[in-house]
């Protein structure tokens, strides 16, 4: 200890103190402060960039999730539309079918009726014509036949025979 105190050099202490304090202040001004500021600024920049990247990623994720959702929705919608379309189609077909069949029925029945009516008409016409013709024939025959009595008689018999048959 005594040796240490004896060795203690006031001059060296003085110079060391002066020089070292000067060095601290100089370096603070010209080195440490600007360097640390640059480093901190850089760190902040990197941190900001990283944060922005993360945010972008999150946004991307959100977007893609949204996209997926939209796609799924679209798919469901399409399905629904298709289903609706199918059912509408089926209904339409069914409707058309039933309508067609009822119409056909109607047409058929009306046709049938018509046919019947026409038939009836034709029948009555034929009947009338047959009656007319027969009356005419009868007239003619009568005129010819009735020229002599014998023929007249024969005719009447024949006619009667025919009628009976």
């Amino acid at each position: 200890m005594e040796k240490l105190i004896e060795e203690f050099s006031v001059g060296l202490f003085f110079w060391q103190t002066v020089l070292f304090i000067a060095l601290i202040f100089l370096l603070r001004k010209f080195a440490w402060k600007p360097i640390l500021n640059a480093v901190i600024e850089r760190e902040e920049k990197i941190e900001g960039a990283l944060k922005a990247a993360e945010e972008a990623e999150n946004k991307m994720k959100e977007l893609s999730a949204n996209n997926e959702k939209i796609l799924a929705d679209a798919r469901v919608e399409r399905e629904n539309i298709l289903k609706d379309g199918r059912s509408i189609k089926e209904k339409m077909i069914a409707d058309a079918k039933s309508q067609a069949s009822t119409e056909a029925e109607k047409i058929i029945t009306s046709a049938k009726e018509q046919i019947n009516i026409e038939k009836m008409k034709a029948m009555t016409e034929i009947k009338n014509q047959v009656a007319d013709i027969s009356i005419e024939m009868a007239e003619k025959i009568l005129r010819t036949e009735l020229k002599d009595a014998k023929n007249q008689k024969k005719l009447i018999e024949e006619a009667l025979k025919k009628q009976i048959n």
Binding site: W15, T17, L19, F20, L23, F30, W32, I35, V39
Partner: protein, 375 residues
């Protein structure tokens, strides 16, 4: 350190290792060039060995001492000294300035403004005309000694290095280049692994100037101590005292209320005040003493580590010449070489420890939490 090592690439590491080896080898070549030569051959082998030992002892002592001129080596056959003189500045009632070369290595008395001075064992004394030391006079020596000169040189180097580092940031925009790529990891290491964990994110910035300066200064100074120029600045108690004193003053002047409260009232609310009185008669002086012991230990640790390292290293180098045979000399060369590498580690380690402990003391000065939780 891991972060520092990670950022250093392989090529840099290679360069570093090569330069370290060059410095070490140069150191030994230097050492082998300077000491002991067989000047007298009439002595017996034992006497010669004794002579060598005392010469080595003298050399080690000289190596550890500060001096008034920048002495590089001495040619012992011609007695010529190689080196350059440094200015001597004395305060002895008035200012005396002259060059140390006027002492002629302690051989002559210098007259300056009707006073006479003599250099004796590295110390300047006032003498009378015939060279008798006047004991009553105490000239205060403010000379630019070898150590002061090297402090200046190293400070200048440090300043240029760091100024360039700072400049390199501006050139490349937030990215260091050149020497900055070496310096930045160290700065970040001091900040992230020394300052922030010990002081806290809130207060660390105001201490960064001191911590970084101390770290780089001590490291560089220790490294220079290992070069062949052989200036051991941290080997002087005055230097380590200055550094420790600054740590102490900064601690005290930036201390917050809780720091002082902890000193005066270390137990806090753990017991009633009446019970604390007898305890405090013992505790408070211990606490107060502790504040001084902490920087005192800083001072002694740095001083003792560097001094011891140098003495052991120099002794091992000296042993090479004492053994003076193939086996012994090469073994002590190996030992000295290994120790040289170890000393490189110690140079950085002591800088780290000094910075680390300073940061711990600063941390205790600005700690804001209640000490109850701590105990």
């Amino acid at each position: 350190m891991h972060r520092f090592l990670k950022t250093m690439n392989l090529e840099m590491a290679k360069k570093l290792v090569i330069s370290v080896l060059i410095v070490l080898v140069a150191n030994f070549l230097w050492a082998s060039a300077s000491p002991v030569k067989d000047t007298v051959s009439t002595y017996t082998a034992e006497e010669k060995a004794d002579q060598k030992k005392s010469k080595i002892k003298e050399d080690i002592k000289h190596h550890l001492q500060d001096s008034h001129d920048f002495h590089l080596f001495t040619d012992e056959t011609t007695g010529k000294h190689y080196g350059f003189p440094l200015p001597v500045i004395l305060w002895d009632e008035e200012l005396h300035v002259f060059m140390s070369s006027e002492f002629h290595h302690g051989e002559s008395i210098v007259q300056s403004k009707d006073k006479y001075y003599e250099l004796h064992h590295g110390k300047i004394h006032r003498t009378d005309e015939s060279g008798n030391i006047i004991e009553s006079a105490h000239p205060i020596d403010f000379s630019i000694t070898k150590n002061v000169f090297m402090i200046m040189v190293i400070s200048l180097m440090l300043f240029i290095m760091l100024f360039r580092t700072n400049k390199s940031y501006k050139k490349r925009g937030h990215l260091p280049s050149g020497i900055g790529r070496f310096i930045e990891p160290i700065i970040l290491y001091v900040r992230d692994d020394i300052a922030i964990p010990n002081i806290g994110k809130k207060h660390y910035r105001k201490y960064m100037g001191f911590l970084l300066t101390v770290f780089f200064f001590v490291w560089l100074v220790n490294l220079f101590g290992l070069t062949p120029i052989g200036v051991n600045i941290t080997n002087n108690i005055a230097v380590t005292f200055c550094l420790a004193l600054l740590t102490y003053l900064i601690t005290i002047f930036t201390a917050k209320k809780t720091y002082w409260l902890h000193l005066i009232d270390p137990l806090g609310n753990t017991m009633p005040w009446i019970a604390k009185i007898p305890l405090y008669i013992l505790l408070v002086p211990i606490e107060l003493l502790g504040t001084i012991i902490k920087p005192f230990s800083l001072m002694i640790r740095l001083y003792a580590n560097i001094t011891a390292g140098h003495i052991v290293l120099m002794s091992l180098i000296g042993m090479m010449f004492v053994f003076n045979n193939w086996i012994g000399s090469s073994l002590s060369f190996l030992l000295a070489f290994t120790l040289g590498i170890l000393e490189l580690l110690v140079a950085a380690l002591q800088a780290y420890i000094f910075t680390m402990l300073s940061a711990v003391y600063f941390g205790s000065a600005v700690a804001e939490h209640e000490h109850d939780e701590e105990h």
